[in-house]
Symmetry: C2
Subunit: 173 residues, 2 copies
């Protein structure tokens, strides 16, 4: 299979959640609660997204993260690249020369480039905004989920939506 790392998977989940309230500033803890992903991991991913310019960050007591751009201007390809490095199905594509002994005479290289471009283009065409348009009616029916809201004092609890209950592992074959 072609596999994507969980970092990228989680990153897309987190950004999708943020894109639902594009103006809002989220703390790492609030996002972890909203998505039910492990807080340290969420923190790590948000750091990475901020470093790559997809998120704006504010330090200090009233700090947090917010989208650096509108959801329509962020592609899935960008998110994956930011967290997992450049989109390159083979190392010889990943412009690290010297890896492949026969690089100058590698006839397959052009083909890999083609395959890689096809995948990259497909991912570039999917925007974060489109990711938020998923089954909105489901959101309503989710109200019937187990009402375990004892952590309701949490600022984030009202946004707790089970849609992100557990981010699924990540493979693309």
């Amino acid at each position: 299979m072609i596999r994507m790392t969980k970092q990228a998977d989680y990153g897309i989940v987190l950004l999708t959640r943020m894109a639902e309230e594009p103006e809002r500033q989220f703390t790492a803890a609030a996002l972890a609660a909203a998505t039910r992903l492990p807080a340290p991991t969420v923190s790590k991913i948000l750091k990475g997204l901020a470093r790559e310019g997809l998120l704006d960050s504010l330090r200090g007591v009233k700090g947090g993260y917010s989208l650096a751009r509108a959801g329509a201007a962020i592609s899935v390809a960008e998110i994956i690249s930011a967290l997992d490095g450049p989109i390159a199905i083979t190392e010889c594509i990943d412009d690290t020369p010297g890896e492949c002994i026969q690089e100058p005479s590698c006839a397959v290289r052009g083909n890999w480039q083609q395959i890689n471009d096809a995948i990259r283009l497909a991912l570039e065409e999917i925007t974060l905004e489109e990711m938020t348009h998923g089954l909105p009616q489901e959101l309503v029916t989710l109200g019937s989920a187990p009402a375990q809201f004892e952590e309701a004092q949490f600022e984030e609890a009202q946004f707790e939506d089970a849609r992100f209950e557990r981010a699924r592992p990540v493979e693309v074959s």
Copy 2:
């Protein structure tokens, strides 16, 4: 990055080599020599491709592997699926239910499906035949490569082409 395993990478290299002589039957050792990939690994991959129906195999002294279909009828997607399992960028796509706790209410699932389909379609459109059309003029100039043909008694030596000198590692981000 989105990463493909070396198995799939090597598999594509091997099949591309075979597609250049579609009628020929290759032994695992001959293909390993032609592509300069480690023989046991080549053997392992060929077994897998035969098991999945992409190759026909013959046992015995005059045995070997040959393409089960014309190169134009084999897509890159098929090869990857055969060696690495179904093309699924996330586990929840890989129809193994129960993995994702919130599966029935996962709004992101539909989006992953979309992303996955985009990648799968891109890979299905590339045929093995197209892979063989890579830079044929390069083949000629390769004659100037180091003429270390002391293993020329090997049946395969005449086909030894440096194009496959070393299959590059494999990542798709």
